[in-house]
């Protein structure tokens, strides 16, 4: 009987040496202290402290692991450190941008009237007063906000039908014909068009068709649609392509006509992807500056008619406030307005991206029992 008893051991024979559970935390603490000491020698700054501590942490953890656990585990720890390090480096610029814009933009955004007034009548004299006498900051981005919204909505109204119908033609009717191949080629070329060229094209087209010097929101919308259409075509095309052919055949076999099959089976199946693709295309063009500069000009007053008169937009507002401050001698109020506008623009793009996710989830084919 006693011969079958398992030997009593302290540690399983199947394991080697192991680091204590708290090992990473111990190494972090030591690395931070050591890093601070090293930085104190050569002059302290937070960024360098982080870098030095990170390197010390990786070296310390890998070295300790090599000593206790062996080479294989040490390599595993090294790889983990590298992957996490790369991840942090990739996130750094993103958070840095958001942080900078938040810090610089919030004072402007929280300024009363920033979202509800325009720059109409706000002159350098007011800004000088703000800086020198502490008078409240006047002027806001209402006109630019309206301009951006109107121009983008109009551009979307132009691009979505054109882009979606093109994608439907390519996927459902193209059948690799010469026309379909030509469209695919030119859409690819259009994706690479520099945005200023799109702006020049729209401006030149309206100069020729309507009259020289035609600069309105509508021209800007056309310029933006030139940039937007290829994105919409491409994303919708991909979404339509992944609709299984079996669904089309199932509909045909029920005696459903092709256009009804596309409208009621293919599009509903792909709609979540198409909708989020369109939203991302909007986010892509909403921050365009160059094409709006040459097509809609600048404005300091509210103009809600896209078909007449110059129009402001957030990107061009930022551009002019930085380049030509309202008060050349005291540019601070202008730069505060510009940062505020930048923050608003980033918030809009973020909301659009969130919206895209929400739309994708809302329209996604339902599963469940």
């Amino acid at each position: 009987m006693t011969s079958t008893l398992t030997p009593v051991r302290k540690r399983s024979a199947l394991t080697k040496g192991q680091l204590p559970k708290a090992a990473p935390y111990i190494v972090v603490a030591v690395a931070l202290v050591l890093g601070a000491a090293i930085m104190a020698l050569i002059g302290f700054n937070a960024f360098g402290w982080g870098i030095v501590s990170g390197i010390l942490f990786a070296a310390g953890l890998v070295g300790w692991s090599l000593f206790v656990e062996g080479a294989r585990k040490a390599k595993d720890k090294l790889a983990t450190c590298l992957v996490v390090g790369a991840f942090l480096v990739a996130l750094l610029p993103l958070f840095s941008v958001i942080w900078t814009v938040l810090v610089n933009g919030l004072p402007g955004l929280l300024d009363p009237g920033f979202l509800s007034t325009s720059m109409n009548g706000v002159t350098g004299a007011f800004d000088n007063k703000t800086v020198e006498e502490g008078a409240p900051l006047l002027g806001g981005i209402y006109h630019a906000l309206m301009g951006t919204l109107l121009i983008t909505v109009l551009a979307t109204l132009i691009s979505v039908p054109v882009g979606l119908l093109t994608a439907i033609y390519l996927v459902e009717y193209g059948e690799d014909r010469a026309l379909a191949r030509a469209i695919t080629f030119f859409v690819d070329v259009m994706t690479g068009i520099p945005s200023i060229v799109a702006g020049l094209f729209a401006a030149a087209a309206f100069f020729a068709l309507v009259g020289p010097g035609t600069k309105t929101g509508a021209v800007a919308a056309v310029a933006l649609s030139v940039l937007m259409i290829p994105v919409v075509v491409r994303s919708s095309e991909e979404m339509l392509k992944i609709v299984p052919n079996e669904l089309r055949e199932a509909a045909y076999a029920l005696g459903v006509r092709k256009w009804r099959t596309i409208l009621k089976v293919v599009l509903p199946t792909a709609i979540s992807g198409i909708a989020s693709g369109i939203t991302l295309a909007i986010a892509r063009v909403i921050g365009e500056t160059a094409p709006i500069l040459v097509t809609a000009g600048f404005a300091t007053t509210i103009n809600t008619n896209v078909f007449s008169g110059w129009m402001a937009s957030l990107p061009t507002f930022i551009y002019t406030q930085i380049l030509n401050p309202t008060s050349p001698s005291n540019p601070d109020p202008s730069s505060q307005r510009a940062w505020g506008a930048a923050l608003v623009l980033i918030i809009m793009v973020m909301l659009l991206n969130l919206g895209a996710r929400l739309i994708a989830r809302m329209f996604a084919p339902k599963t469940g029992r």
Partner: protein
């Protein structure tokens, strides 16, 4: 509510490639006909020509005649949509519409064509079709749930319910059980036996026991080699094909000596 199909001298092409050559076959109304044969011999291709689903593939075309109770499907001016509403089809893999509920899947043939239907009529149609596909008892409490939440066998029966909801004359089935387990397969085979009372059923299958179990007549297709067209080798009563075939190739195939 069922019609016979007569095929005369049918050649099926993919662009220039002759896929199936010179088929002559007469399929009786209210019968089950099985197509058997090795992979790539053109059974499915031929089946798809029987409701003009073949031409959905770019470059595909046919020569010859397919007569549905004497009317040529490929006659001038014949609308393939009319043909398909008379000859339904069930596919190899269950393909319920993922955006629709079970109820809407059954009503798809009606709703997608924008035919007006009252709620009462729709309820009757849904129940009758699901009863006809032996699925009613399993799904009657969750008609509003998505069709993609059903099991594979249930999905396939849902597709059959969808096909019979448009009240076709003929039902074509392209390996309807190849993606299913034995129990679901049995359920579908039972269903085919019941469908025979009302519809003409044509089924493609790789499973010879299945062909023997469900069909009245069996057609054996074969191919001489890669790149050669598939041909109808022998067509006759199922017991004859399986026990006493005329052709040597048929005997070899059904006895498992090749293919």
């Amino acid at each position: 509510m069922s019609k016979r199909i007569d095929v005369k001298d049918l050649n099926v092409y993919y662009s220039k490639f002759l896929a199936v050559e010179d088929v002559n076959i007469n399929i009786d109304a209210k019968s089950v006909t099985a197509f058997i044969g090795p992979s790539g011999c053109g059974k499915s291709t031929f089946l798809r020509t029987l409701n003009r689903m073949h031409e959905v593939i770019p470059g595909a075309r046919v020569e010859g005649e397919v007569l549905l109770d004497g009317d040529n499907l490929y006659g001038p001016g014949v609308d393939p949509v009319t043909v398909r509403s008379q000859i339904g089809m069930v596919f190899q893999r269950p393909n319920p519409f993922p955006t629709m509920s079970i109820r809407d899947n059954v009503l798809a043939g009606v709703k997608l064509n924008n035919t007006k239907i009252s709620k009462g009529e729709a309820d009757v149609l849904v129940e009758r079709s699901l009863q006809g596909a032996n699925l009613w008892n399993e799904v009657k409490d969750r008609l509003g749930k998505p069709g993609s939440g059903l099991s594979g066998g249930q999905q396939q029966r849902l597709c059959i319910a969808r096909a019979i909801a448009v009240e076709p004359q003929v039902i074509l089935m392209d390996e309807p059980c190849s993606a299913l387990d034995p129990i679901s397969t049995l359920a579908i085979e039972d269903l085919i036996n019941e469908l025979k009372d009302q519809y003409t059923v044509v089924i493609v299958t790789h499973n010879m026991q299945q062909a023997a179990r469900v069909s009245d007549k069996t057609a054996f297709f074969n191919i001489a080699g890669t790149g050669k067209p598939g041909k109808l080798i022998e067509f006759g009563d199922t017991p004859t094909i399986f026990s006493n075939p005329t052709e040597k190739a048929t005997e070899d195939y059904v006895s498992g000596r090749f293919g």
